[in-house]
């Protein structure tokens, strides 16, 4: 059984922060396929349809028949640990800082053997479930967990290096004056967050949501207006060094596209909050987070973007919003590059229409903010990079993966979610 992770002690102010270190990131192009799978929590390995055998490590052709149409096929990940070691000395600086580090050889039921990072509960001879997990370099590795889950499994120190579990971490919700912000604050408290900084613009504007928020456990309201550079600078000045997980919930949403909208004032407001707000956060919260990406068990861990699935393809009824989210998606990709090697993961949560006032003309299914919060947190606990929430988002995402041009046409024709 795993034992619960105690609350990490407060930082010793006389200790130098650890530099940002990451495990080796270099992979072959095929190896990066594994990272792409890990980013959404999938496990597939190459499979030869003629030989009916899986192949690993990634290859260009089946090592039995040399046919080059290996297909990435789902695999259970179940298997047995056949050997383990604890690395106690290594020239790799990232691991050197974390020894002893346990790895093992896992014989998968479907045939292949993998070297895997080991959960503390896994010993030689044990049945395990190996899964792909992004490590702090952002690339995929195998991680073997106990086949049967146990209560504090996610508290394992090695596993926490791969995940972004909010437990004992300090979270900033950039715009808590949203249904999602409030839902997140509640769910994060349940998930064992150490503290929740709830960013609120224009504290002079009181409303019921704000009054609720201030009564939540662990929530501290902080002045943060994403449209105001000074406000973001000041907030980052005060809290930037304490934010382990930043969740950007800002959303300025108005229906409409471009031809039928009069003027640009609304569009500017939308871009100011959604797009330029993101940039302000990146400029002021990015540096302190990047500097703390490897600083122990409660280091800076994740930057989370709440994205509409409209970021993938425009939904003309919400055309300007789609454009904002397309920009956000692109910026999140840039941010991943800028955070590379720091240990801070950029997580995108894609959802369909939320159950909020701006979607009250849309038919269900819509995503309840509480569900979004729950799945976002589950994704952080699992260590995902892309989280897709709700039936609409899953539908659009799969159609986009299948054929983006077809999806574009269907959405443009008003096909929307029914296609």
């Amino acid at each position: 059984m795993s034992s619960p992770l105690p609350l990490p002690p407060k930082r010793n102010p006389q200790r130098k922060a650890k530099p940002s270190l990451a495990p080796p990131a270099a992979r072959t192009r095929l190896g990066i396929r594994l990272s792409a799978l890990a980013s959404t929590g999938q496990l597939k390995l190459q499979f030869c349809k003629s030989c009916l055998e899986f192949a690993y490590p990634p290859r260009e052709a089946c090592p039995r028949c040399l046919i080059d149409d290996l297909e990435w096929s789902p695999i259970s990940g179940l298997g047995e640990v056949i050997a383990t070691t604890a690395i106690r000395a290594t020239p790799n600086l990232y691991f050197r800082d974390r020894v002893p580090w346990r790895i093992g050889t896992v014989l998968l039921d479907e045939g292949p053997i993998v070297i895997a990072h080991l959960h503390g509960c896994c010993a030689t001879g044990d049945r395990v479930r190996a899964r792909l997990q992004l490590d702090k370099s952002g690339q995929a590795v195998f991680f073997a967990l106990p086949e049967i889950e146990n209560e504090f499994m996610n508290d394992d120190a090695q596993l926490r290096e791969m995940t972004n579990d909010p437990k004992h971490r300090r979270v900033l919700i950039t715009d808590a004056r949203t249904p999602m912000g409030a839902a997140l604050a509640a769910a994060l408290a349940d998930a064992g967050c150490r503290s929740i900084f709830a960013g609120v613009a224009e504290l002079w504007r009181r409303d019921a949501l704000l009054d609720d928020l201030s009564s939540f456990p662990k929530v501290e309201l902080v002045r943060l207006d994403l449209t105001d550079t000074d406000s973001v600078r000041e907030c980052a000045g005060e809290f930037g060094g304490k934010v382990d997980i930043l969740i950007n919930t800002a959303e300025y949403l108005r229906p409409g596209g471009f031809i039928d909208r009069r003027g640009l004032a609304a569009a500017k407001d939308e871009f100011e909050t959604n797009v330029f707000g993101f940039m302000r956060l990146a400029q002021f919260f990015g540096p302190p987070m990047r500097a703390r990406g490897s600083d122990g068990i409660d280091s800076a861990s994740a930057w989370v973007n709440s994205l509409s699935v409209r970021s993938l393809s425009s939904w003309p009824e919400f055309g300007c919003n789609s454009a904002c989210h397309a920009a956000l998606l692109s910026m999140s990709q840039c941010l991943r590059g800028e955070f590379a090697g720091s240990g801070v993961r950029v997580v995108n949560v894609f959802s369909g229409p939320l159950e909020t006032e701006w979607h009250d003309t849309l038919p269900p299914p819509k995503v309840a903010p509480s569900r979004l919060a729950r799945e976002l947190i589950a994704g952080l606990q699992r260590g995902l990079e892309d989280i897709v929430v709700g039936d609409v988002a899953k539908d659009i995402m799969s159609r986009w993966r299948d054929n983006p041009k077809v999806l574009e046409r269907e959405l443009a024709a008003g096909g929307g979610i029914d296609g």
Binding site: E202, L203, W204, R205, R206, D207, A208, R223, D225, T227, D228, T229, D230, S231, G263, A265, A266, K268, D269, E357
Partner: protein
């Protein structure tokens, strides 16, 4: 013998004429009028650094700022309201210069506003002022003192689920000032010339409706009215000369008789 401007200059230099700043600092977090979300919104004051003696401009610092025409301490031109949309000289670039420098009457409603956040100044209150200080002369600014400018943040905007709660004039009072006294305009310490609940009046927002419909102007978010005499001050309220502008943030200054002890411009 000194000409009048020389005497003004001497008065300023000696402190016998005092300058009072009636303006709030333009600050990103200063409250603005809140409209229902489906309407267009007033842009907040924002500032972006262009350079700060750095690689973006080694020897100089400068900023870009942005805001709405009705952000911070600001001027409302007649064209701001639908009732004044077709008037000549209705925009800030064409408002007659005489409107921009003019005497002010300050009607002290601070006691009433303290008692009642929804206080509405009525004709009786104006007549009471006139009986104490003489009739409001044609071509004056009328400034409604409520001490509201001393409130901060949420108390200032005082928003509740049924809207904002703040004092203002009632419809009759505005019509009286416009029709009977032919003022230049009405100035308030609150976020608008109308009371917080004026949407529910008839007509809605009577101050805006009657003032601007008659070519009169508005000044909002004033501060420092408690320092002005009831009568005898001169207001300098010149908006930016924005083509077809409906309003503008501005610096509002008042001249008043001083003691001579206070240096000019304090």
């Amino acid at each position: 013998m000194d000409d009048i401007l020389s005497r003004l200059a001497k008065g300023l230099a000696s402190g016998l004429i005092e300058i009072v700043d009636l303006t709030h600092t333009l600050d990103a977090d200063f409250p603005v009028m809140i409209l229902p979300p489906e309407f267009g919104q007033c842009a907040r004051f924002r500032i972006e650094e262009v350079s700060c003696y750095d690689e973006r401009g080694p020897a100089w610092k400068w900023n870009n700022f942005s805001c709405g025409e009705h952000t911070g301490t600001h001027f409302d031109a007649p064209s701001h309201w639908v009732s004044g949309k077709d008037l000549p000289y209705g925009s800030v670039d064409t408002v007659p210069l005489g409107n921009l420098v003019a005497p002010a009457c300050v009607i002290d409603c601070s006691a009433e506003a303290e008692q009642n956040e929804d206080y509405l100044m009525d004709v009786d209150k104006i007549r009471e002022f006139e009986s104490a200080h003489g009739e409001i002369q044609r071509g004056s600014w009328v400034l409604m003192r409520t001490d509201w400018s001393q409130k901060k943040g949420s108390e200032y905007i005082n928003l509740r689920e049924d809207g904002a709660h703040s004092p203002g004039p009632n419809a009759d009072a505005v019509r009286f000032l416009v029709d009977e006294r032919d003022i230049i305009g009405l100035g308030t310490e609150t976020v608008g010339t109308d009371a917080g609940q004026a949407f529910h009046a008839n007509p809605p927002y009577p101050a805006h409706f009657y003032l601007h419909g008659a070519g009169k102007c508005g000044l909002q978010c004033l501060s420092g009215l408690d320092r002005l005499p009831a009568k005898g001050s001169i207001i300098f309220a010149a908006p930016l000369k924005i083509r077809n502008g409906t309003g503008s943030p501005l610096r509002v200054l008042a001249l008043m008789n001083g003691s001579g002890n206070i240096p000019c411009g304090s």
